[in-house]
Amino acid sequence: MSEITQHAKLPDKNGRFGQFGGRFVPETLIPALSELEEAHAEAICDAEFTAELERLLCDYAGRPTPLYRARGLEDETGGATIWLKREDLLHTGAHKINNTIGQGLLARRMAKQRVIAETGAGQHGVASATVAAMFGLDCTVYMGEEDMRRQRLNVFRMELLGARVVPVSSGSRTLKDATNEAIRDWVTNVDSTFYILGSVVGPHPYPAMVRNFQSVIGREVRAQLLEAGEAPPNLLIACVGGGSNAIGLFADWLDDDINMVGVEGAGHGIDTASHSATLSRGAIGILHGTRSYLLQDNDGQVQLPHSISAGLDYPGVGPQHSHLKETGRVTYTSVTDSQAVLALQRLSRCEGIIPALESAHAIAKLYEMAETNSIGESDRVVVCLSGRGDKDVEVVTEHLDAHPEEDLR
């Protein structure tokens, strides 16, 4: 139990979760990160700040999100009790806005007139552009050229919201390179600019700060079960790219005696070169300012990940996840593109909910666990439905055209 209890106290004062985390950045960012760390620490102790955060999460974003008892899914999976935490019903369609409202408030508090963000699928970019519009801040979003092609709809949404979307053509032209470019912008404009980082990655204090803003997910689950007179769950499942929705669900439960499963993108399979299963197949390294598991070659060059889900398509992972893996507190596993697409179709049919491809990875793991009898009637499971699937219909259609045998239509 002592091992478990320690999780709530992390990171330490150096931003470490055990051997993971830290602040591996160019010197220019060190004063900015110290300033941010201080501002965040002050803000979360300021009743006025937390009251406004709560008000915006409620009135603007739509919290609390429903904890939905998924009886159709229960019928399909043979008897376990299943709740879906409906982050997909939030404004902008995913959990990302929990974090951007928090960081947007901090930007305003720190009197920064300009915000920047990186985005992969575009969900974090849209959530950042949305909050910037509401607060009247100038917003620039960096997005890989390849992702802009895959997620045209989100590019248009960001532009409608008044943000400037800057195409990134370096490297693999995806989230990793968009993050490099956002960091370069921040290094250059550090005095005027607040960097709204979208996941529990990057240099300290981002992994802790983003976790704090996302942990409303797990706290709400606890309150909602209590209010319904339900016993606590014994299993939590969430997908893991950088890992913000997973940490958001897990954080409040780390000291409880329950199981947790994080699901990474296995792409074409974790034994192929095309996956984004960082914790399952990576090695410890340093990228984007943090020490964590990383997909890299023997020379320490970062490898290109693959997932059908742009939100999981990242070669790194949050340092706290690496720590939770190392201590065995959370089990990390993966499902393939095909499993995720199948789960997306099945959930659409049995519950009338089209999940984001990211969230479909968590649903697919649930199906797999049911099929292998890893869960049964006595189990009580909460799955984080982190986002809605509208953005993914084009990608799913492409996949099904190429794999007609997986098409349930």
């Binding site: 010197e27 550090v190 020379d299 320490g300």
Partner: protein, 283 residues
Amino acid sequence: MKTSDRISSAFAAGREASQPLVVPFITAGYPTATSTVPIVTALAASGADMIEIGMPFSDPLADGPTIQHASEVALRNGMTVGKTLEAVREIRASGTDAALILMGYCNPVFAYGVDAFIKDATQVGVDGLIIADMPPDEAGEFLVSCRAVGLSLTFLVAPNAPDDRIRKVDGASTHFSYCVSVTGVTGARSAIESRTIEFLQRMRKLSTKPFVVGFGIKKPEHVMTLGPHADGVVVGSAIIDAIESVGGAGAVVVDAVNAVSTLVAPLCAAARQATMTAQRREA
């Protein structure tokens, strides 16, 4: 000469002549897999007493587009940490006695293995290291290992740092510090800002070591303006640009060598002028 003594004597010679060092930078493996040895040898022959050799990384987040491009080309050419060390061995075998500083990012060095890297670097004749994403707060055992073998480890000092931070970073550098001329990435700048000079003057008051200044220094007039306020000026992106102008990745090695030599000669001449300017100012 013993490792890192070359650094001390380079700065000592500079001070003796009241001249800032011109420190050229070249990415290992750029423009071709075999160009590093002839380019570094030529730079030394052109009068550079200290030379930075970049170890390419897939995600160089402190670098602007020019050095990013050089890194991409170098990685396509198959350059690795091991091959960079091998190039240094060959440069030493050719008799070059300039101080050689390897510059890179944490991950490739950690992947090579910290102990093995420090041992091998020392053995092939590397004098010092600069790791762009390793502030002193994260250097810990790495710094201890460098000190143990007398390998120089230089930390970057940023212009937006408060005085106590500058003292801490400069204090952690073993032999010399590296001032980043502006908040930003490498290569980005057209004119020298007055606040850069103010920063270097502040650094001179706070620093206990020699220091160089880099990022965006491209022309003789930049060297003349900043040179009087530092012990050395680093020129990086301009070297890559010069090689790009003779074909970049497709350049013939001898053309690349001529291009960098042609660029560096007037910079060294400017460094001599810079001193005279400084002396006049002091008088």
